[in-house]
């Protein structure tokens, strides 16, 4: 509601009663929203402070301004555990998941939006229904299936179930539905087939939705916990969320090291979000979720 709280004119003092009320609302809004932002940000600030305060423990909370800030917890994190490996594992899995989901989601979305066929409605309904199946229903049979194929404790085993995402297909289909059909028809008259229309007409026009999917796919893989916890048993294959959970048991009092691990886990996601932020808002807005 952009028009309910307009900036009061800065050059003139508020004259009417209404202007005074508006100014008061303006000030209150700013105070509330900024205090709220601090509350949202505080746990991260605290995490960062703890991660540079060696020896911080549950019974020995760090001061807000650490007396002897040091990167020692980070050095311990990376020297005492295979943490470089863990970060590399997570980056690898998230990158592959994201790349594959971009392909499987965009092709399926194109089929549902641009290639009418008999039973299309039923097939799409089944696709959507998979979003409502909790992963927990699938764990036991999935475990057995991958055991049969000898894929337990392997990256392929961790990756295969993430290759298709109904959420991604739905997101991209909404975006493709909004690409004007005149563009395809013009290309078709020029002799282009479906593959060329897909690559040269449709994909360039849904870049915001693709950027949104990149963030969501990468995020879901980067943060996924349950399935990697079950399928990746060897320490050298472990991903970041599992290693962080394990840290808590191993270094029960070393909160500085645990928080250093937390900071390390947030940074890549934060970088990706900042990079894609303007596309994300645009993407959500343009895919019909309004």
């Amino acid at each position: 509601m952009a028009d309910t709280l307009r900036l009061p004119a800065m050059t003139k003092p508020p004259r009417s009663r209404e202007a005074k009320v508006r100014l008061a609302g303006f000030v209150v809004l700013h105070v509330v929203i900024i205090v709220g932002a601090l509350v949202m940000f505080f746990p991260f600030l605290w995490t960062i402070i703890t991660s540079i305060t060696p020896g911080a423990t549950l019974t020995n909370a760090p001061a807000l301004i650490p007396a002897n800030p040091s990167l020692e917890p980070y050095l311990r994190l990376f020297s005492e555990r295979p943490f470089v490996q863990v970060v590399a594992n997570s980056l690898l899995l998230a990158t592959i998941t994201t790349a594959v989901q971009l392909i499987t989601s965009s092709t399926a979305a194109y089929a549902f939006s641009r290639l009418p066929f008999r039973g299309q409605g039923v097939v799409f309904a089944i696709y959507l229904a998979t979003m409502m199946i909790p992963l927990q229903v699938l764990i036991v049979p999935l475990f057995v299936e991958l055991k049969t194929f000898g894929l337990l404790n392997s990256y392929l085993g961790a990756l295969l179930p993430t290759f298709a995402s109904a959420f991604g297909i739905f997101l991209l289909r909404q975006a493709i539905n909004q690409v004007p059909r005149d563009l395809d028809e013009a290309a078709m008259i020029d002799g282009a087939g479906h593959f060329r229309i897909f690559f040269q007409v449709v994909l360039p026009n849904i870049r915001p939705a693709l950027a949104t999917l990149v963030v969501f796919s990468f995020m879901s893989s980067w943060n996924s916990f349950l399935w990697p916890l079950i399928v990746l048993r060897s320490p050298e294959l472990q991903t970041l969320p599992i290693a962080l959970a394990a840290l808590q048991g191993q270094y029960i009092s070393d909160w500085d090291v645990i928080m250093a691990g937390s900071v390390v886990s947030v940074i890549p996601m934060l970088a990706l979000y900042i990079f894609a932020q303007k596309y994300v808002i645009q993407g959500v807005a343009s895919t019909g979720i309004k």
């Binding site: 509601m1 952009a2 028009d3 307009r6 809004l29 929203i33 949202m40 940000f41 746990p43 605290w46 019974t59 020995n60 909370a61 092709t107 089929a111 290639l115 009418p116 066929f117 299309q120 097939v123 309904a125 998979t130 979003m131 409502m132 909790p134 992963l135 927990q136 229903v137 699938l138 764990i139 036991v140 049979p141 475990f143 057995v144 299936e145 179930p161 298709a164 087939g193 479906h194 995020m219 980067w222 943060n223 916990f225 349950l226 969320p241 959970a245 808590q248 645990i258 928080m259 937390s262 886990s265 947030v266 996601m269 990706l272 900042i274 932020q277 994300v280 808002i281 979720i289 309004k290």
Partner: protein, 314 residues
């Protein structure tokens, strides 16, 4: 949201058909094109989602410790679960979580979206800060909150003590374990709700507000008569997604309390996890999974059916 996410909704708007009706060879070629576009997603979904789902239904009818051969017990697992008071407890805890979490995250997310949709300086930065928890791993969020809510030296109890209030034991107290999980979860998901509602708010035409103002409607009147009705598709989306995810709450429980103390925060998925991987009772775990699935499906269908009463599309 012009298309609700449900299998019961119309799939795509009617349009000119580009399906060829010509000779057989041409139709065959078209079928191959369709297959080429669909198979990359259909194969993984069939192999790793729909297949395992049907297999889970079969497992739920057997007694199985994951190692020895299965022993068919019919509906035995379901009967055992339905007569076990612990099943009722874990479902109750899950409902407690959903009921506590949903209003906080929706009202909070709506207030945030309304505030950050006004002409606020630095709102891009603020949106980023509020979205920060969304991109963070649950494990990290749980670690931080466990520490902030630490009974003896946690920041929250320290601040409460400053005002002369003796803070509770939070996640170490059976009565406060679930509220602790709810607070941490709401804090984390506020940004997600915010960004969806924000996109919805931006799509509301401003002339509607001008018309409402001309009729003398105040801020609250405009909120209830213009904003909320036009925002209802977004609200519907948030409710459906939040309920589906809420009933599957696991990561934060696992990391914050592991279901404790004394099972006070044991939720359904935590129980499924323990049954399978701690006690080797896979048949019961599958049966419990199916019970949860049916509950989620029922809740979703009720929402889809009920949407006609309050959701207005364009």
């Amino acid at each position: 949201m012009t298309v609700p996410i449900s299998p019961l909704s119309p799939v795509s708007p009617r349009r000119r058909s580009t399906r060829p009706v010509g000779p057989r060879s041409k139709r065959l070629r078209y079928a191959l094109v369709v297959l080429a576009f669909l198979l990359p997603s259909a194969l993984p979904l069939l192999a790793f989602t729909l297949g395992p789902m049907l297999a889970a239904a079969w497992v739920s009818l057997n007694q199985w410790n994951l190692l020895a051969p299965m022993k068919f017990v019919g509906l035995g697992n379901y009967i055992k679960l339905l007569t076990d008071p612990e099943t009722g407890d874990v479902f109750l805890h899950t409902v407690y979580y959903v009921v506590g979490y949903l209003p906080i995250v929706y009202v909070g997310g709506l207030a945030l979206a309304l505030a950050l949709n006004t002409a606020l300086k630095g709102r891009a930065l603020l949106r980023g800060v509020y979205f920060l928890p969304v991109v963070t791993s649950w494990i990290v969020v749980a670690l931080v909150w466990r520490w902030l809510l630490s009974p003896s030296s946690g920041v929250v109890n320290t601040v409460l003590g400053f005002f002369g209030v003796a803070g509770p034991g939070w996640w170490t107290d059976p009565n406060w374990a679930m509220p602790s999980i709810i607070f941490a979860s709401a804090w984390k998901d506020l940004g997600f709700v915010m960004i969806i509602l924000l996109a919805g708010l931006q799509a509301i035409p401003t002339d509607l507000y001008d018309a409402a103002k001309m009729d003398g409607a105040g801020w609250w009147r405009r909120l209830f008569s213009v904003t909320l009705p036009l925002l209802s598709p977004s609200t519907f989306f948030v409710l459906v997604i939040s309920l589906i995810n809420g009933f599957q709450v696991f990561d934060q429980v696992y990391a914050m309390t592991a279901g404790g103390p004394n099972g006070a925060s044991e939720v359904v998925v935590e129980q499924i996890y323990d049954l399978t991987f701690r006690y080797g009772r896979a048949g019961e775990a599958s049966a419990l999974s199916w019970m949860l699935f049916v509950v989620i499906l029922a809740v979703t269908v009720i929402q889809v059916r009920g949407q006609r009463r309050w959701v207005t599309y364009g």
